[in-house]
């Protein structure tokens, strides 16, 4: 069996009295795309933030390439260079052009010479189909374009793993497709990805494994087919049924309006 790139062991996060999640054990193998689904407020986003150390955890460990990154004295900045993150609300650097957004990590963090960094940044923008928008500021880009630049910004650092925190939740419905398209392409290129999303279509088609989380624990995990067609737990079935119904309704409403 291959060694996992990323592994959490009994990872636990508690805010005051609130247990956000408890004893999360998750293994991500090289080249795998794992989609985490579950109701809001079950700690999915916080889990991602704990994995790349943006939020402190209260117990358990995280391993990246078999090294414990939660160990005391581990260089957090170094860790984050190796874990790319894409946020729900894009969070592009507003004072920088698309190109500079992608370049700044290379020049400031990796200390790459400017011309080399520019070349690499253009490559990444090309990869998300936005080379022609290189000199646009975030304010001049649509939400979908901003999110694709954000993906390019994370990719430029050559991360071992990419974390996606509801990357399409803040987008207009018609812009979701272009972002999911880029992500599907990454998955096909065997980028290791951990994705929190409510896009069931994406989960079913792209994920190697789906993890269903609720109330701070992993209820069930398995291949898309297993989860969608043969869920072991009633809660999984109920959740998937509800979310499918919800999207069905949306489709109906859309149809009625047109």
């Amino acid at each position: 069996m291959t060694n996992p790139i990323l592994e959490t062991r009994n990872l636990t996060k508690i805010y005051g009295q609130n247990v956000i999640f408890k004893d999360i054990n998750l293994k991500v193998n090289e080249g795998e795309t794992i989609v985490i689904i579950g109701p809001s407020g079950t700690g999915k986003s916080t889990l991602l933030r704990c994995i790349n150390l943006l939020t402190s955890h209260n117990g358990g460990q995280v391993f990246l390439d078999n090294q414990e990154i939660t160990a005391k004295g581990h260089d957090e900045d170094k860790v984050r260079q190796q874990i790319g993150m894409v946020f729900q609300n894009f969070l592009l650097f507003n004072h920088l052009t698309a190109l500079d957004n992608v370049m700044i990590g290379l020049t400031k963090v990796k200390k790459m010479p400017k011309d080399k960094a520019k070349e690499k940044a253009m490559e990444e923008l090309n990869r998300v189909g936005l080379a022609d928008r290189a000199d646009h500021y975030p304010g001049q880009l649509s939400g979908g374009q901003q999110q694709r630049v954000a993906i390019a910004r994370a990719l430029a650092m050559d991360p071992r793993v990419m974390l996606f925190d509801e990357p399409t939740s803040a987008l207009d419905p018609e812009l979701i497709g272009e972002v999911l398209g880029v992500m599907a392409k990454l998955a096909k290129d065997r980028m290791t990805m951990l994705v929190v999303t409510h896009e069931m279509g994406f989960a079913r088609e792209v994920a190697d494994r789906i993890v269903f989380m609720e109330k701070g624990s992993i209820v069930e995990e398995g291949s898309p087919d297993d989860l969608f067609y043969h869920p072991k737990h009633d809660r999984t079935r109920e959740f998937l049924w509800k979310i499918t119904e919800l999207y069905g309704k949306k489709e109906k409403e859309k149809g009625a309006r047109e």
């Binding site: 984050r80 260079q81 790319g84 969070l91 004072h95 700044i104 646009h136």
Partner: protein, 214 residues
């Protein structure tokens, strides 16, 4: 006579501008430091910065000016009235500039810091390359207001005997018995200076504005 009046008072303009050009940047540096400490510092330093701001903003500038002047031109530190007055004004202004910058730092939002940390930047790098460039842009309009206040408050150093615009107007008024003319000219010069300052900063704000539409 009018031109005599004018040329006498206008000689104080250089000093007024000098006081402002020392007080404003000094206050900016100090205010920025305090704003950063208040926003990103630990619990204790955060508390200290808040107290600093509260004390300085709770006392009239002229009272602080006398107190700081007393310290800065005393036995230990012995500065000229011009320098002591300018630096004192800068310290007073730093508390107000701190609040302006604090607001701007908050307006940039934590998300930008998070995004910067997520690509591996240290806190310092994130502040330097991501947060500050945006915060300073946001701060220009309210800072323009503070700049005109400092420019006008530079007249307070007249109380320390520094021969700036107001001091000279007062001397003229006393010797010629023409207070209206003397103070009127002083007011006119102040107005022109403040107007030009605000206009220049409006221009800067416009120039550094980030494009939003294609």
């Amino acid at each position: 006579m009018l031109s005599n009046f004018f040329s006498y008072i206008v000689q104080g303009t250089a000093i007024t501008i000098g006081v402002t050009l020392i007080a404003l940047p000094f206050g900016l540096l100090l205010g920025l430091l305090m704003a950063l400490i208040h926003t990103y510092g630990g619990k204790i330093s955060n508390r200290l910065a808040a107290i600093y701001s509260l004390l300085l903003r709770g006392v009239p500038p002229i009272v602080l000016l006398f107190i700081l002047y007393f310290i800065l031109s005393g036995k230990v530190i012995n500065l000229t009235p011009f320098w002591a007055g300018s630096l004192s004004l800068g310290i007073v202004s730093s508390a107000y500039q701190m609040e302006i910058l604090r607001g701007a730092l908050l307006a940039v939002g934590g998300g930008q810091m998070t995004a910067a940390r997520a690509i591996g930047m240290s806190r310092l790098q994130a502040i330097q390359s991501i947060v500050l460039p945006q915060a300073l842009r946001l701060a220009i309009p309210p800072w323009s207001n503070e700049a005109s206040i400092v420019l006008k408050d530079s007249s307070l150093v007249y109380a320390l005997g520094v021969p700036e615009i107001l001091r000279r107007a007062q001397q003229l008024s006393a010797t010629t018995q023409q207070p209206f003319l003397a103070y009127g000219i002083a007011a006119l010069i102040y107005f022109v200076l403040v107007f030009a300052t605000n206009r220049a900063l409006d221009y800067l704000s416009e120039r550094t504005k980030l494009p939003t539409h294609p």
